[in-house]
């Protein structure tokens, strides 16, 4: 339950897995274009570590984006030409250009964003929310995850289901993955020949046995499991209802773009996310993979951007026109950024970028976030942050604040110590709150 009056009740986290290039999408650096090909000055890098993928490079040729940038909306937010639809809704968004993290490779970095620790094992963000705030709809899980494959990179970094795991929290709080197609939740449907009534009888009998078991052992996990069975039973009817986009009006489908007709795409998942939010699901997380452009960046990032541009903008507007953006927070962002120098050979129209944890951009909308603003600033070569740095723990603390949670007070005692999502760190950045 919130400690104090919440601004947001629900969240859609559009996770862009792989590390989108902030320099080709959001963070406009004309100076990089002017100094194209110049070696990254030591005065900028200051001995900071690089990944093993480029640390052996003889030179680090700086490169700006091949794509043009322009300012959009009354807020004059800079955006690349790859995001025309995001440009149309720039005034709804709060761009944070000064995100930074400690992790340097995908899995630790995503794990850090999701659990507050680079090492696996802690509960996921959505699980913490479910634990701290509870569910708003008893017929659906409070934490739902959907994945989509980017068109930018064929072979993308994999994701692990532990990223939406409950860690040491009760299994009731784990994220449930909804898949595209006829069978969105695996093993949810009754086996062939088993009716709903028979299922009910079986569950009742099972509950009796488990009840007996629980009385003897007093193990909380038995109760959790019983609750899970019941949730699955209710989901047998609630899930097909929410996943059926048949009745979505044509104008809405057009708004989200042609991909919205293809199950399993980012666009289709965006529509489902909105439908889940309408049903008061607390935490919906989309993962869109394929943002890891070590090479062939211009071509790949263009396709990736096209995947997400229109659906993301449509989702935000669609939430808005339904009055849902008021108390739904939307976050778009990856696990880290990309370097201002080229990984591999820099040619006239091609380059790659390595992982860069020292600065990257995310954007947010709705749910008590200040719309139409850009927060934080990087240096003119886009390598370090010069103003208002926002650490991953800061972001987590700020999001929790929007939900009325004091991040220092939401704890869970496990193995003799109290754990927090923000570990022992994190500051709320009041400047970006509406």
């Amino acid at each position: 339950m919130p400690h104090f009056a919440p601004k947001a009740k629900r969240i859609i986290y559009l996770f862009q897995s792989g590390g989108p290039s902030q320099l080709d999408l959001f963070d406009y650096k004309p100076k990089l274009n002017e100094n194209r090909g110049m070696d990254l000055p030591e005065s900028v890098r200051m001995g900071q570590r690089l990944t093993g993928m480029t640390s052996g490079q003889a030179t680090f040729p700086l490169t700006g984006s091949v794509y043009d940038f322009a300012q959009y909306g009354e807020s004059r937010a800079w955006l690349s030409e790859l995001l025309p639809y995001i440009g149309k809704i720039a005034d709804e968004l709060c761009f944070v250009k000064s995100m930074h993290t400690e992790a340097i490779n995908h899995d630790p970095a995503i794990t850090f964003f999701q659990t507050g620790s680079q090492l696996p094992g802690r509960p996921s963000f959505g699980s913490w929310m479910s634990y701290g705030l509870g569910s708003l709809n008893d017929n659906l899980p409070s934490f739902i995850v959907m994945l989509s494959k980017g068109t930018g990179r064929e072979v993308a970094q994999p994701l692990y289901s532990r990223l939406w795991g409950n860690g040491f929290l009760s299994s009731l709080h784990q994220g449930v993955q909804f898949r595209a197609g006829k069978d969105p939740v695996l093993y949810l449907n009754n086996p062939e020949g088993v009716s709903r009534l028979e299922r009910r009888k079986m569950l009742d009998y099972l509950a009796q046995i488990n009840q007996h078991h629980e009385e003897n052992f007093g193990d909380q996990q038995i109760l959790d499991r019983m609750a899970q069975y019941e949730m699955a039973y209710r989901m047998q009817t609630s899930v097909p209802e929410v996943m059926d986009i048949e009745n979505e009006p044509d104008a809405i489908l057009q708004m989200y773009g042609p991909d919205s007709l293809k199950p399993g795409t980012y666009a289709a998942n965006c529509i489902l996310a909105r439908r889940l939010i309408e049903k008061d699901v607390r935490f919906v997380q989309l993962y869109h993979v394929g943002w890891d452009q070590h090479a062939n960046l211009p071509a790949e990032v263009k396709r990736q951007a096209k995947d997400v541009d229109q659906p993301t903008a449509a989702l935000i507007l669609d939430l808005k026109q339904r009055g849902l953006l008021e108390d739904t927070l939307v976050i778009w962002g990856g696990e880290f950024g990309r370097t201002n120098y080229s990984q591999g050979i820099l040619t006239d129209d091609d380059y790659g970028r390595d992982h860069h944890p020292r600065c990257f951009t995310i954007f947010m909308a709705g749910g008590g976030i200040q719309p139409g603003m850009t927060y934080g600033q990087t240096d003119e070569l886009g390598y370090n942050i010069v103003q208002d740095p926002m650490h991953v723990h800061d972001l987590q603390a700020t999001i929790l604040h929007l939900f009325g949670i004091d991040h220092e007070q939401m704890t869970y005692k496990y193995q003799g110590r109290r754990f927090r999502l923000t570990d022992v760190h994190g500051h709320v950045h009041h400047q970006i709150l509406a």
């Binding site: 009056a5 919440p6 708003l136 044509d250 669609d318 026109q321 339904r322």
Partner: protein, 670 residues
């Protein structure tokens, strides 16, 4: 010299804890000795001696601290009290030597402990401020009257009082500065005026507040509670416009950004309400409402109705806790018309969701006097008249009117006549006319022996998939795909999706090939490498994808692929086809040649051969390629197919000279 003495004086608050500690510990021993005399006698003597000496040191340091002049006359009370206590401790020590009666000794000791407590308390008040030990009491909320505000008395004073006055107040005046009164602020401190009225920007007050956290002169110091960004901003704005102490401003005079700051500064006015009774709550829950507590610091609730149609009974159950309802969600619910009238009494309702409901214009009248901030009326029959009525409510901030009965002309009229945020839905021109995605087959099989059922994914019912089988591009007059479609001959299927209101899709083209025979008996005479050895896939009529790891592909590293199979009983085929791929990163190149041999009485004879031109430079695209080798009907017993591997990667490859891979996913006859 003086500076050094002042510095040493600052150690007083540290050293002072030595005599206090030792003396109180000694007192503890004295109390223990009441039951068990003479056990601690020696230690008590030692304790009195130590506390006396350290008390003298602490007194001297305290005097030096007094000489800095940071304190008002109030410090004198503490000083004399402390010196007296020190002398008393000395006297106690004297009594100890005199071996006076236990009664006298213990009594005097207790008196001195009381003296010590008083003087310590006085000292602590100097350091921590007078309010430090106050018992917690209910916070008094400053309420801003909606019409006017005095920035100094209502805002600035309370910020200074909370965050600054414990060091810059009447009792303790660090740097000679008093921030608890108007006179003090105007007078400034030792280093100058606090507020520079000529150049407000250069005011020392702001200077200290804005120094970096690690700076020595930063205020409040690093270790103390900091100003929130909003507090800092408010002080700044107040100083910059000339630090007006008396001015009272009407709300209309304050600019928007300043108003926002003020709203943040004053906690939102939520009238405390008593919690709803359990009985009421249970009744409401039984009526299919969902009730969530708004936050832990209030007894407000957020309510949503889960059913489709609300009965008056259910509504009346909710009505019992109307005072507690801060947000009500009745989206997609049929509401009894008589319920609307009763909304009037939900006196604390801030957010009301009535999307997809039967609300009518006249029902809005009952919302007039509610403290509503947000009303959403999407997909209702509300018209312009109703909205004009609703807009009379002064507290409204946001209104959602998508899909209402308001015409486009009226929309701009409504928006122009109102200062609040009104959402009429996403603009029609947000998305250009979209093109439908091209049709996609459910299964990917394109090779068949007899016939093949093809079905397309149909993401939504309204999609119309048109197709042709003879090469023409499908148009609106072509055949419509229904549930499935049978392919019986080799040929090209072209299909296109149509949805009314969308641009037609691009054309999907799929080549189908009718295969003459399936090969079930064969002998692979070469040995595939790595994990690409599943050779039963070579004849299963299923083609692989462009990913060579997908399980359909058989790979040979450096070697040729050689397969032998019996000639079919009825040799009715004219081609042998081999499907292969190339991938630069996978070190996979196309075969050098494909040779087909036949075994007759004369032994193996080359029947047909296809030389495949190799790439002459780097390529980036991973590509599948199919090779057809024409064959004349022959009277042979067995066939042997050799897919020749170049053996090593050609010179243009980054890894030239390494063994090359050849991949094949299918071999078939047609």
């Amino acid at each position: 010299m003086m500076e050094w003495l002042h510095f040493v004086g600052k150690l007083h608050p540290v050293i002072i804890h030595l005599p206090i500690g030792i003396f109180l510990f000694t007192y503890w021993l004295v109390l223990l000795s009441i039951k068990n005399p003479s056990k601690y006698t020696h230690t008590i003597g030692w304790g009195l001696q130590s506390s006396f000496y350290t008390a003298i040191v602490a007194s001297i340091l305290g005097y030096l601290r007094y000489l800095t002049g940071d304190y008002t006359a109030e410090v004198l009370n503490h000083m004399w009290m402390a010196i007296t206590t020190t002398v008393f401790i000395g006297l106690l020590w004297f009594l100890y030597f005199k071996k006076v009666s236990n009664r006298l000794f213990n009594g005097s000791f207790t008196l001195v402990v009381i003296c010590l407590t008083i003087s310590s308390h006085l000292g602590a008040q100097l350091t921590h401020g007078k309010g430090y030990l106050k018992l917690p009491k209910k916070p008094t909320t400053v309420s801003i009257k909606k019409d006017s505000i005095n920035l100094y008395t209502q805002v600035i004073h309370s910020i200074l009082d909370k965050k600054c006055v414990s060091c810059h107040g009447n009792e303790k005046q660090e740097g000679g500065l008093i921030l608890s009164s108007v006179e003090g602020i105007l007078k400034g401190g030792e280093s100058g005026l606090a507020i520079d009225f000529k150049n407000p920007n250069d005011s020392r007050l702001l200077y200290h507040l804005e120094l970096p956290m690690d700076h020595d002169l930063r205020m409040p110091p690093k270790s103390r509670t900091q100003l929130t960004p909003i507090e800092l901003e408010l002080i700044k704005n107040w100083v910059l416009v000339g630090a007006k102490f008396e001015q009272t401003m009407a709300y209309q005079q304050i600019d928007r950004s300043q108003l926002e700051l003020l709203e943040e500064f004053f906690p939102p006015e939520l009238n405390p309400v008593s919690p709803p009774s359990h009985k009421d709550l249970e009744k409401i829950l039984a009526h299919d409402f969902r009730v969530d507590q708004y936050s832990m610091d209030h007894h407000y609730v957020v309510v949503r109705y889960l059913g489709d149609s609300l009965s008056m009974d259910a509504f009346d159950a909710l009505y019992k806790i109307r005072k507690n309802v801060i947000e009500l969600n009745l989206n997609s619910v049929i509401i009894p018309p008589s319920a609307f009238e009763k909304f009037r009494n939900f006196k604390n309702l801030k957010k009301l969701h009535l999307n997809h409901t039967n609300i009518e214009d006249q029902d809005l009248a009952s919302l007039d006097a509610l403290p509503l901030q947000l009303v959403s009326l999407t997909n209702t029959r509300i018209t312009q008249e109703g909205i004009h009525q609703l807009l009379k409510n002064q507290s409204l901030e946001k209104l959602f009117l998508w899909k209402t009965s308001i015409t486009d002309e009226e929309k701009s009229n409504v928006q122009n006549n109102s200062v609040i945020d009104i959402d009429f839905g996403v603009a029609a021109d947000f998305a250009e006319k979209q093109q439908v995605e091209r049709p996609q087959m459910v299964n990917q099989q394109t090779l068949f022996v007899d016939s093949l059922a093809v079905s397309f994914l149909r993401p939504i019912e309204s999609v119309d998939i048109k197709y042709t089988l003879h090469g023409q591009t499908p148009d609106s007059l072509s055949a419509s795909y229904q549930d499935s479609l049978w392919i019986k001959e080799s040929g090209t299927l072209k299909a296109k999706s149509f949805i009314p209101g969308w641009l037609p899709s691009q054309t999907t083209e799929i080549d189908f090939r009718k295969v003459a025979h399936t090969i079930t008996q064969y002998q692979l005479q070469s040995s595939p490498s790595g994990t690409y050895t599943n050779h039963s896939n070579l004849f299963d009529l299923e083609l692989g994808s462009t990913s060579f790891t997908d399980g359909y592909w058989v790979g040979h590293h450096g070697d040729d692929l050689i397969v032998v199979f019996d000639a079919p009983e009825y040799p009715q085929f004219s081609h042998v086809s081999v499907s292969s791929m190339r991938s630069y990163g996978g070190w996979i190149i196309l075969p050098k040649s494909i040779k087909v041999y036949g075994l007759s009485r004369d032994g193996w004879q080359l029947l047909s051969e296809l030389e495949i031109p190799q790439a002459s430079e780097k390529f980036s695209q991973t590509q599948k390629e199919q090779f057809d080798i024409p064959i004349k009907p022959q009277d042979v017993e067995q066939y042997r197919i050799v897919v020749e591997n170049l053996g090593v990667l050609p010179p243009w490859h980054d890894h030239a000279g390494e063994s090359s891979w050849v991949f094949v996913d299918e071999i078939y006859l047609w």
